[in-house]
């Protein structure tokens, strides 16, 4: 079989380690421990944006990340955001801040958030994501299909990209990512 992952079982995520070429310019990938919720506005999106100001967030109703690490709101659709937070109690905070204009849906148990970096990352992402990522500014986000897997990605900063995807696809995504990164090498922190 052609792909070097073929020998690995489908049924578990890749263990941490180095994969592919042992290049200096390899890509690094790690998993971020964050809580997540979906926030969905009712019919009055403006009211939701207004309420976000109370949290100190200039909320954008578009495919962008608003806010910071303690509460990052990433637009996934009109009046819809994926909200990530490194602090606990996210759902309650959102509920308190946005109800009833927007509803909160817990997603922290079902999402995996990954962060990738490295000098060859653009070439690796080009194999996975059919978007012109060179035109992305910091915080620009997209919900898109990569290697038949649906995910939301955004440019965290000049060198880091993040992905949020469903848990059930985690192992499959790692395989696809490792394949794409193989020629440069992958340092997977687990």
């Amino acid at each position: 079989m052609a792909d070097f992952l073929a020998a690995l079982p489908l049924g578990k995520p890749l263990p941490a380690g180095l994969y592919g070429a042992q290049n200096f310019e390899r890509v690094a990938l790690c998993r971020l421990p964050v809580d997540a919720c979906a926030l969905v506005a009712g019919r009055d999106v403006a009211a939701v944006i207004e309420k976000a100001k109370v949290l100190g967030v200039d909320l954008c109703d578009g495919p962008r990340r608003s806010g910071g690490d303690d509460c990052a709101l990433i637009g996934t659709g009109p009046g819809r955001w994926l909200v990530l937070s490194s602090a606990s109690g996210l759902a309650a905070r959102l509920e308190a801040a946005f109800a009833p204009e927007a509803s909160t849906f817990e997603q922290g148990g079902g999402l995996v958030v990954l962060e990738a970096s490295g000098p060859t990352l653009p070439a690796v992402l080009a194999k996975l994501v059919p978007l012109d990522l060179a035109t992305f500014a910091d915080d620009d986000a997209a919900t898109v299909t990569a290697a038949h897997i649906n995910l939301t990605l955004w440019r965290h900063d000049a060198t880091h990209w993040r992905f949020a995807l469903g848990r059930s696809y985690f192992a499959a995504f790692l395989r696809a990512f490792a394949c794409a990164a193989a020629e440069y090498g992958l340092d997977w922190a687990g």
Partner: protein
Amino acid sequence: MLIPCPYCGVRDAQEFSYRGDAMPVRPDPAAPDAEEKFHDYVYLRDNPAGAFKEIWHHSAGCRRWVEVERDTLTHEIKATRFSAEGRRA
């Protein structure tokens, strides 16, 4: 084929699911000729070779139903907007 999604920007048509003709409007189920109207609504389609309004679901993106004005001969897309029946003229 690229479809300019009003929310996500230009995306490959592959990310969308197709429904077809955008023009049929769900009839009043209480109308006396409801069955005939529903027959037309469910089964009859404009199927022009040329300018066409159709709806697509951006199922792998923002999950919005999008109305697309597209030419079925050239695949050229003239305009897109979020779909909603009530708004149609």
